[in-house]
């Protein structure tokens, strides 16, 4: 577990407020799995002080890079958006655990809210590579904030929902879940917590399908030594997202 300096290969704004940053691959990141994340240090002079947790968006072994997909929301991501080809950036990872799934499951429903799509694209790649059926529900504010659909594996069946109906159908992405309940073997979600809660209400009422969501909390270390990232489960027990997660089963957290 080492904080390493790696070279930026590319950093482009690919839609609305969202950037795709490609960084050279090192040995430890070669073994990363979908669902794992890195801490990325946007400054080395304490301003801002802490690393920023970012999901690994994709690993490209042939071209020897990995990427992160990020929204510019504050100080750290603003600095990140200024990085250019050839710059050096410090990174710690891969951290956390892969999104769990059962080998025997065939039908997967992936639900992405906003920037929550970042880790799910690569998870879909991997599922398709192992001959699974994948449906992806993509929720976004409007057509300008939808991840470029042509960048998603063509074998993934996609449904888009936008808040204003400017692309796909209008409404919340969780409204679609019920159409897939008969078909689906496993569900993975990433996005805002409100989405997880409403998904849990829908999934929980029918048959028990494993549903794993990638949770987020403020992180200081990413490696289990600060206890900043704890999420309390339904029994009030704290779980560190960085070392035990970031994926947790919805029913473990919400009951």
């Amino acid at each position: 577990m080492k904080n390493v300096a790696l070279k930026v290969i590319e950093n482009n704004q690919i839609y609305k407020n969202t950037f795709l940053l490609k960084i050279e691959l090192n040995n430890s990141l070669t073994n990363a799995q979908p669902g794992q994340f890195i801490m990325i240090y946007t400054s080395l002079n304490f301003e801002p002080l802490l690393g920023r947790p970012m999901s690994i968006h994709r690993v490209n072994h042939d071209k020897k890079y990995f990427s992160i997909l990020y929204n510019v929301v504050g100080k750290g991501t603003k600095l990140l958006s200024n990085k250019i080809n050839g710059d050096i950036i410090n990174v710690l990872g891969p951290l956390g655990n892969a999104i769990p799934f059962k080998k025997e499951s065939m039908n997967f429903l992936l639900i992405a809210g906003g920037i929550g799509i970042a880790p799910l694209i690569w998870f879909a790649d991997k599922l398709i590579a192992s001959n699974k059926n994948v449906v992806m529900l993509i929720g976004a504010q409007n057509k300008d904030s939808v991840f470029p659909l042509n960048e998603i594996d063509q074998q993934v069946e996609i449904e888009v929902m936008t808040d204003d109906g400017s692309l796909g159908s209008k409404g919340l992405v969780t409204e679609k879940i019920k159409h897939y309940m008969e078909w689906v073997d496993e569900i993975s979600l990433c996005g805002p917590e409100g989405m997880f809660q409403s998904a849990n209400r829908i999934i929980g009422t029918s048959k028990q399908i494993p549903a794993y969501a990638l949770f987020e909390k403020e992180m200081a270390c990413g490696i289990g030594i600060c206890y900043g990232c704890a999420i309390k489960d339904k029994d009030g027990k704290p779980n560190l997202i960085c070392t035990k997660g970031p994926s947790f089963e919805l029913k473990k957290i919400y009951g």
């Binding site: 200081a220 600060c226 009030g236």
Partner: protein, 308 residues
């Protein structure tokens, strides 16, 4: 060869000799198991456990962490596994390590400190206790033990009744007179003093018009507090008869050297480890290199050298 080893317990019955002056701060290293998978723990000057209480605690609601300009406010709320699990699950692992091992303890009442000390006293693999007195005294209406030199003295007396181990008292930086507190602690049996814990702090989310942290208040650490650490260590050194351990904003080798020149015999690395898990090890190497470059043969020679 530079001598980096220091003795944190010159007066007491059991020596507390550290191979080098770099400890990892309580609550910033969990219980050392995570990093022991990747690093040579035995190379550290010493490890200090997460603050441990009688019962396990689940900690505060989130957010537990917020950033400030060059600082970090935390309100973890003493999430810890409790003393019995600590004894069962952690001590056997620590027992295999050579590194000096210190347990940080915290009570709600004075008798609780005694119970914690007694439970730990029989374990040879525990080299010392660090007593956190910057926490609310439930019996005295929630005022911190460390705010009143008399209460602080009562805590150390109680602990000393139940253990022969060296006792380091970790104080709050916000006390009316840190020199009076130091005198009270050393007169009542403290073997060393950690200066200091975090600084009471908070932030308000102006959009929500509410405190940002889940628990409203927290403690400030990191580079932002270093110069206050130096000031407090310097003041304490002027009256101290016991060794001082500096804690607060030690991010680089130079900060460690500076704290030692202000009077600290050892330093604790906290927030710096979040930015780079190698930080404590890098600072140990850095101190050695600094000594060589400055023709210092014994690190003890610089302790307090800047205090007039």
């Amino acid at each position: 060869m530079v001598n980096l080893s220091i003795n944190l317990n010159k007066s007491g019955k059991q020596d507390l000799i550290l191979p080098n002056p770099v400890l990892v701060a309580s609550g910033t290293f969990s219980n050392a198991l995570e990093l022991s998978k990747y690093k040579d723990i035995d190379h550290l000057g010493g490890i200090i456990s997460k603050g441990t209480t009688i019962n396990a605690r689940s900690g505060n609601d989130s957010p537990r962490i917020i950033e400030t300009p060059s600082g970090l406010i935390n309100s973890i709320g003493f999430q810890n596994i409790g003393i019995n699990s600590f004894i069962r699950d952690i001590i056997p692992i620590w027992g295999k390590w050579k590194v000096p091992a210190i347990v940080n303890i915290m009570g709600n009442t004075i008798p609780e400190y005694g119970i914690l000390a007694k439970k730990l006293d029989k374990f040879n693999s525990i080299d010392a206790l660090e007593i956190n007195i910057s926490c609310p005294n439930v019996e005295a209406g929630g005022i911190e033990f460390g705010q009143d030199p008399k209460q602080a003295a009562n805590v150390i007396q109680e602990v000393k009744k139940h253990t022969e181990k060296p006792c380091i008292v970790k104080v709050s930086p916000i006390v009316s007179n840190i020199q009076e507190l130091t005198k009270a602690l050393q007169a009542n049996g403290a073997d060393a003093i950690t200066v200091s814990n975090t600084y009471p702090a908070m932030e308000i989310d102006i959009n929500k018009r509410k405190p940002t942290l889940g628990a409203k208040f927290g403690g400030l650490s990191g580079p932002a507090v270093k110069s206050m650490t130096i000031r407090n260590v310097y003041s304490v050194y002027q009256v101290a008869t016991i060794p001082i351990i500096a804690s607060g904003g030690i991010m680089h080798t130079e900060d460690a050297i500076e704290a030692m020149m202000a009077g600290a015999s050892a330093v604790q690395i906290g927030t710096a480890t979040y930015l780079d898990p190698d930080a404590p090890w890098n600072i140990i190497d850095g101190i050695e290199t600094w000594c060589k470059n400055n023709v210092i043969n014994d690190i003890n020679d610089i302790v307090g050298c800047a205090v007039e």
